[in-house]
């Protein structure tokens, strides 16, 4: 019989209460650093490095060498008969019938016992009487016991309620009745403050965060891909493959380098344009930022009118600058006929020779940027037509074809 010692060596792990960190944590009301206890509840022959046999054999030898007269049972105080088996455990001796469970008085199966308050118990009774039960899986805890949140846990069962990380070795923070790892706690706290938590250092980002590959960071964790300068929040994430915002080929550039990369900058918001670009007024614009200077509605590809470096929608251009009709010299209120660098009231557009109304369907010729209907043009002196044609050919490299 190789009885093994299993004095429940119960260590206590507590917070270092005099550190500044501990004091800060203690001052918080919402969450508090919870001390928790861990002790080993492992059968001792497992904990012992020496094999029980090699440990006990010399002890028996030592026992046989001693005089039986001077040895007494630790329990009943009687001596031992010659040839009687003596149980030796941690230097104490027992009759075999005295070395039994304090609860059921039966011998220990395989010599495994648990000691509590100076008494020894078999495994079953120890569990029933004293062993902790895991809060999570509701089974007895053999081995490491985590005492936390007013309960006991298997080390394996005590995990962060958000990310399921094992907390036994890292410690935890109680937050609103939940046990959280430091990282999740910081996240929860930051969310409450409307701030982000750096994906790299897990600290709250007090200033502007830097978004990169779908996460947020302190900008100072990164340097510019091109010039190597430490980044600030103005850094730009450049998508090498357009589309997904979260893209692991994305790279970070400082604003200076980014601007030098030829990405067009919106004339309104001064930010780079990565989608459709509108080019007008000598600048580039986000489609939604190219707007009427009066009503500020985007043109979205509709016609715009330019005046003194500003763009206007049709309504407001006419409202503000009133295209004057070439014929009546009045502001055109209804439909406008635009041609030959001029504007007409829709019903005032007519041939400059015969004064007959023309529509947008009528083909007409141009003479000194005046409209001339086909019939009238054909009645022009032939030599004039020849010269007009030659001039057209010289200036526009094409014959005076009817313009619509």
């Amino acid at each position: 019989m190789n009885p093994t010692d299993r004095s429940p060596n119960i260590p206590l792990i507590g917070a270092i209460k005099n550190s500044r960190l501990a004091q800060r944590r203690a001052s918080r009301t919402e969450e508090s650093y919870v001390r928790f206890e861990i002790y080993d509840n492992v059968p001792l022959h497992i904990r012992n490095n020496d094999s029980p046999v090699s440990q006990t054999i010399p002890k028996f030898q030592w026992i046989t060498n001693m005089s039986r007269d001077t040895m007494f049972c630790s329990k009943c105080g009687e001596g031992f008969e010659p040839q009687e088996k003596i149980v030796n455990s941690t230097g104490q001796l027992w009759h075999q019938h005295c070395f039994v469970c304090a609860q059921c008085f039966r011998e220990f199966a395989d010599g495994v016992f648990y000691e509590y308050d100076g008494r020894k118990y078999c495994e079953h009774d120890f569990h029933v009487l004293f062993a902790p039960c895991c809060q999570r899986c509701n089974t007895f805890i053999i081995g490491r016991v985590i005492k936390a949140m007013n309960a006991s846990w298997h080390a394996d069962c005590f995990r962060c309620e958000m990310c399921n990380l094992e907390l036994a070795d890292t410690g935890f923070i109680k937050n609103g009745g939940r046990a959280l790892c430091h990282e999740c706690n910081a996240k929860v706290k930051a969310r409450g403050l409307g701030k982000y938590v750096c994906h790299k250092c897990h600290a709250i980002i007090d200033d502007q965060p830097l978004r990169f590959r779908g996460e947020v960071y302190h900008p100072y964790h990164f340097t510019c891909t091109a010039c190597g300068v430490e980044l600030d929040a103005n850094a730009r994430e450049v998508r090498n493959r357009p589309g997904l915002a979260k893209n692991d080929t994305n790279e970070l550039y400082c604003l200076r380098c980014h601007d030098k990369m030829g990405v067009p900058i919106c004339g309104a918001c001064r930010r780079p344009i990565e989608e459709r670009v509108v080019t007008a007024l000598g600048k580039h614009w986000h489609v939604e930022h190219f707007v009427c200077a009066k009503c500020e509605k985007p043109f979205f590809g509709h016609r715009h009118y330019e005046k003194k470096g500003l763009a206007y929608c049709e309504t407001h251009y006419h409202q503000l600058f009133g295209n004057l009709c070439y014929s009546c010299n009045q502001v055109i209120s209804g439909d406008v006929f635009m041609a030959l660098n001029k504007a007409w009231c829709f019903h005032h557009f007519a041939c400059s020779i015969c004064d007959q109304k023309m529509t947008e369907k009528t083909k007409f010729y141009e003479c000194d940027l005046k409209p001339v209907c086909k019939k009238c043009y054909e009645r022009f002196p032939k030599e004039l037509r020849n010269r007009l044609r030659r001039q057209h050919e010289a200036s526009t490299k094409r014959a005076p074809t009817p313009v619509e």
Binding site: N341, S352, I353, C354, D355, D368, P381, L384, Q391, A394
Partner: protein, 286 residues
Amino acid sequence: METAPSSVSCLPHTAKMSKAKKVLEEAREIRNPELDLFDKGVSTFEEMPGLLNMTNVTRLTLSHNRIRSIPPGLANLTNLEILNLANNQIQELPLSLSSMPKLRILNLSINRLDTLPRGFGAFPVLEILDLTYNNLKEDSLPGNFFMMQTLRALYLGDNDFEKLPPEIKNLKNLEILGLRENDLIELPKEIGELSRLRELHVQGNRLTILPPELGNLDMASNKAEFRFEGNVWVPPILDQLNLGISHLQDYLRSEAYRITYNRYLTNKPPVPPPCVDKAKKISRLR
């Protein structure tokens, strides 16, 4: 219709003439103030009896006829706003025309005018004056020609101007100036004072240099149309023209051009000969 006035009874009753009279009849009936009498074969106003009494008329279009002279009585049409006499054979205009109180648009293009009557520039509200394709030159303009402050567009293309009088600057509201295919040797620097000018046609002239003052005008705006082709420009101007109108404008404004221009002024380039043979112009016909 059946009874022609006795004074014109000797005229042949051609089909065309009847057409003109028919138009007048109809217009009188429905009180139409806009008269379309173009291409009616009309030679004289006598073929259009009663016309000069139709004082309600606001537009009179007589283009593509064979009219040689305008009766002073036309000025009776005091409500006339648009008078179109394009493509006729007019050699002379009555002085009275200039007094028409509402005339805004006057088209005299493709006629045979050698001169304009004295006091022609008295039009009170004239906005568009089209004198394209006549035989006018600077000497044929009356002294008050440039007093027409209401003028927005002045078309003088296909005429015989060698110089444009500096008084052009008085046409403060001028937006369009047509001088295509004249014999212009130079443009006056005063043209730079026409601040509203946005259309200038000087193609087919004998111009070599431009006054730097022209650079004052907004030639490169998208509403502007400045046409310079077919002249004998000095190389620096030709180079800029080839680059584009905005380059020319920048160049005209530059100090470099001012120096170049002054050098050309003291050392004038030879005046090119008249380049267009205008003998074939029908405006020359007599």
